[in-house]
């Protein structure tokens, strides 16, 4: 039952670290929202959109698998951002808190969701290993 006043908004916190200005994103749109944003410094410019499609489908699957482990009835508000990396088999290599919600329970619940949901489906061949690092905000309210 903790409260966390005076917290900067998540969006503001993230945007300050965003590599690209929004305009750059708009010019190189991901086809669907949850998909990866293509950074301007993409080492393979013009990478085929099929890879993006496959990746965004895979990300959708990850998200759904993690969502199934959401805890019930926490009655707290806050957002924790979890980072995690998978290997080519879909196993969790590492997971950590990228940004704390300020509430240890929320932070740990968010981490637990990712860790308990693992291992995930084997990533498709088309997805380069360099794209298997993920970041996921979990919002409790």
């Amino acid at each position: 039952m903790q409260e966390r006043p005076e917290r900067s908004t998540l969006a503001a916190g993230l945007q300050s670290r965003t590599m690209l200005p929004p305009a750059g994103l708009a010019q190189e749109p991901p086809l669907i929202a949850p998909g990866p944003a293509a950074p301007a410094s993409d080492p393979t410019p013009g990478a085929d959109s099929r890879t993006d499609d496959v990746l965004s489908r895979y990300v959708d699957g990850l998200r759904a698998a993690i969502l199934r482990w959401k805890p019930g009835g926490l009655r707290k508000e806050g957002t924790a951002i979890v980072g995690f990396r998978l290997d080519r088999e879909g196993r969790l290599i590492s997971s950590q808190l990228v940004e704390s919600s300020g509430d240890v329970q929320i932070d740990r619940m968010a981490l637990r969701m990712v860790r308990r949901a693992a291992p995930f489906r084997k990533p498709d061949e088309e997805i380069p290993a360099g794209k298997l690092d993920f970041v996921l905000p979990v919002r409790f309210h």
């Binding site: 240890v104 740990r108 981490l111």
Partner: protein, 715 residues
């Protein structure tokens, strides 16, 4: 394209932008934020989502100028009523079951009663001015919420820890004060938190005092209704990578609290406590460890309205509480909770001799000699989410209660003390150790029919062992027995070591219609409880005066009887107008109907609330808040003949309120009982303070008109 833009905005706001991870050659793929909502009924199955109510700080802030008694404020909730005690010591009743039949937790800990009249029930250690929230479960409560009870749960959270954002220091707090014209009552409270990101310290303190209040109309002064108390507490919290450690200590001192419906008044109550808890959140599950110690010294005698005379009575209680619980998410649909609890209570109750009084001397009256009540309990509970819409919680628990007490003695061995002399010798000759093995179980099921309709069904079998006074009060003299009891009826009570535990079976259902964002809501919650071995009272003899004439009061012995309770709680809201930022006009209403039967004697059960209907309108626009609350309570005709319980007449009350917030300070003025209506409290008992002064016995009157002024601010 518009669709794309919308998605992009969503993606951006969800942090869907590439974030470079330090030291990684590779880039990061962002995943759209996951929302974990807590408001859905099926998510909250373990908290009885439909029959459970949470009263938040904002609501308490609006009500704290009206009463310093948490139980009285909770009586606004459907299914909850308050049996009159002192000014801050009413005893809550949920669906007809009161007192120690309920689980009452303060910051997660039970507080033992330390008085033969229950003058210091758990909620008397709380103050509406300094509480952050209260959760009330009126329906079937899961066994993990506590053992040794057969009714609902009231859980008070005083000050949850707050932490600062990284690199900053948080200094925050609240201050408030109030004045009530009726009784010339005033008080104040302060909460101050100083915190970093990992460490937090919170001080809470409050003070209240009041003179005797006046009843409405021609009811005049209600004697023995004055009170004063001070509370201080300091809470420390340390948050680390995987858990939260809390330490809290506090002290309460009440120099006086009159009891209009008891022969005695509280003339001093000092209680101090320390408690510690650890909550750890690991990948395998949650761990919760708790420990607490409390020491209470309670003294009774007569305050001004019951003078002349003296009769000191001193009670001392030490309590130790420890528990360990784990919560294991065994699959994505299942959580298993197991836990164990230990509770130790030591109680000593002695009445020093009164010099020069032949009845109360020459020795001390030993009412309870170092009684112990030790409980060890364990539970296992399984929560399953069958689908997005359906969930259940099923659990069983076992509690072993062991009680014992030492030998007792009467004031003396004179002829006038013969009843107590004989009772003491019988009590001392008998074996007094008792052990109860209590099995309980609960099952709850929640189903969301649609976004606008949810159903809850519950069944519980719960068991409560008798308390120390129910088993070990022994005095058979008129005066000694009239010192025992929390019923406010003027009768005398005698304990019985052979009492069996109460065993209750409860069926509870609830339907919730409407919901958040909807213009109206409606909750319908029927229930039925049957209690085997309900601890009621059986007639022993009429109490007589010096001339041998019946006084109208009787001597009773605690006795196992059977009882049933059933009723329905209705509540609803209609949003009449809605503006921005919580502005708007809202109509709310509730109705509680309850009927009880003592199946052994065929009559009604003592102290049951008659039909009550409440309607309120609340309007808020910017800094202005306005409210009007109307309450109608039916005539109480179902009364307990065994106790000579008086009937009370129907009544209707109107309260009006206005508040304005300027420069962060909220100023409120409420007019309570606008028409100064005279009425008797249906659960007030008989007004013994008035009786001693006037010789006329009446029911305890409710408060007459009062102008209540409140101030509060946050920083």
């Amino acid at each position: 394209m518009p669709e794309y833009c919308r998605l992009l905005r969503v993606a951006l706001s969800a942090g869907c932008a590439a974030i470079p991870m330090a030291g990684h050659a590779q880039e990061t793929t962002s995943i759209e934020a996951i929302d974990v909502a807590s408001d859905r009924a099926s998510e909250n199955v373990a908290r009885t989502p439909i029959t459970g109510v949470r009263v938040d700080r904002q609501t308490l802030e609006r009500r704290q100028a009206r009463s310093s008694d948490i139980a009285e404020l909770l009586a606004d909730l459907p299914g909850v009523s308050a049996a009159t005690g002192g000014g801050f010591s009413s005893m809550p009743s949920i669906r007809g079951l009161s007192e120690q039949r309920l689980t009452v937790l303060v910051d997660g800990f039970a507080i033992d009663a330390a008085c033969p009249n229950d003058m210091n029930p758990p909620l008397s250690y709380t103050d509406p001015q300094s509480i952050s929230s209260i959760t009330v479960l009126t329906g079937v409560a899961p066994v993990s919420s506590g053992g040794d009870n057969i009714g609902g749960v009231i859980s008070v959270e005083s000050a949850p820890p707050k932490f600062a954002v990284m690199g900053r220091t948080l200094v925050t707090g609240e201050a408030s004060s109030f004045y009530r014209s009726n009784g010339d009552a005033f008080g104040g409270a302060a909460t101050l938190t100083v915190a970093g990101p990992g460490l937090s310290a919170t001080y809470t303190g409050s003070y209240i005092r009041s003179d005797q209040y006046h009843g409405g109309g021609n009811d005049g002064l209600v004697r023995s209704s004055e009170y004063a108390k001070t509370d201080h507490a300091l809470a420390l919290a340390w948050q680390h990578a995987a858990g939260l450690l809390r330490l809290k200590g506090g002290i309460q001192s009440s120099p006086y609290e009159g009891f209009p419906n008891q022969y005695m008044d509280m003339v001093d109550n000092k209680s101090w406590f320390v408690n510690a808890s650890y909550e750890g959140y690991f990948d395998w599950g949650d761990l919760e460890l708790k420990a607490a110690y409390r020491d209470t010294d309670h003294a009774m005698n007569f305050l001004e309205d019951k003078l002349p005379g003296a009769m000191p009575m001193n009670t001392e209680v030490h309590s130790l509480d420890a528990s360990a619980k784990v919560s294991l998410p065994v699959s994505m649909h299942d959580t298993v909770r197991i836990g164990s609890e230990y509770h130790h209570q030591w109680l000593d109750d002695r009445w020093p001799p009164v010099p020069g009084n032949t009845m109360m001397g020459p020795n001390a009256f030993v009412n309870i000699n170092g009684a112990t009540r030790d409980r060890i309990g364990a539970f296992a509970e399984w929560e399953r989410h069958w689908s997005d819409r359906a969930s259940s919680v099923v659990g069983i628990r076992y509690d072993r209660v062991e009680m014992d007490t030492g030998t007792v003695q009467p004031y003396g061995t004179g002829m006038m003390q013969m009843a107590d002399v004989m009772a003491a010798s019988a009590f001392n000759a008998a074996g007094r150790k008792r052990t109860d093995n209590n099995w309980s179980g609960s099952a709850l099921f929640v189903y969301e029919v649609s976004a606008r309709a949810a159903l809850e069904f519950g069944y519980a079998h719960k068991v409560r062992s008798p308390n120390i006074y129910e088993r070990y009060s022994w005095g058979r003299g008129s005066m000694a027995s009239r010192m025992i009891g929390w019923y406010g009826d003027g009768n005398g009570y005698v304990g019985d070591p052979d009492l069996a535990p109460e065993k209750a079976d409860t069926l509870s259902a609830a339907l919730a219609l409407g919901g958040e964002g909807s213009a109206w809501t409606l909750r319908i919650a029927p229930y039925y409880t049957r209690v085997d071995d309900y601890i009621d009272a059986a007639f022993l003899q009429d109490l007589t005066d010096m001339a041998g004439m019946p006084t109208g009061f009787v001597q009773l012995r605690f006795a196992n009887q059977d009882a049933e309770f059933y009723g329905i709680d209705l509540s609803g809201t209609v949003q009449l107008a809605k503006g921005e930022n919580g502005d708007g006009t809202r109509l709310s209403g509730s109705m509680s109907w309850l009927e009880s039967h003592n199946l052994t004697d065929g009559g009604p059960v003592y102290r049951q609330m008659p039909l009550a209907v409440k309607i309120g309108v609340a309007h808020r626009r910017d800094a202005l808040e306005l409210s009007a609350d109307f309450e109608w309570v039916a005539r109480k005709t179902r009364v307990d003949a065994t106790r000579n319980e008086p009937m009370t007449a129907a009544y209707a009350l109107l309260d009006l309120g206005a508040a304005y917030t300027v420069s962060g300070i909220r100023v409120s003025l409420d007019v309570e009982n606008v028409f100064d209506t005279a009425y008797d409290l249906p659960l007030g008992g008989v007004s013994l303070g008035d009786y001693k002064a006037t010789g006329v016995l009446r029911s305890v009157p409710g408060r007459g008109r009062s102008f209540n002024l409140g101030f509060s601010t946050r920083f």
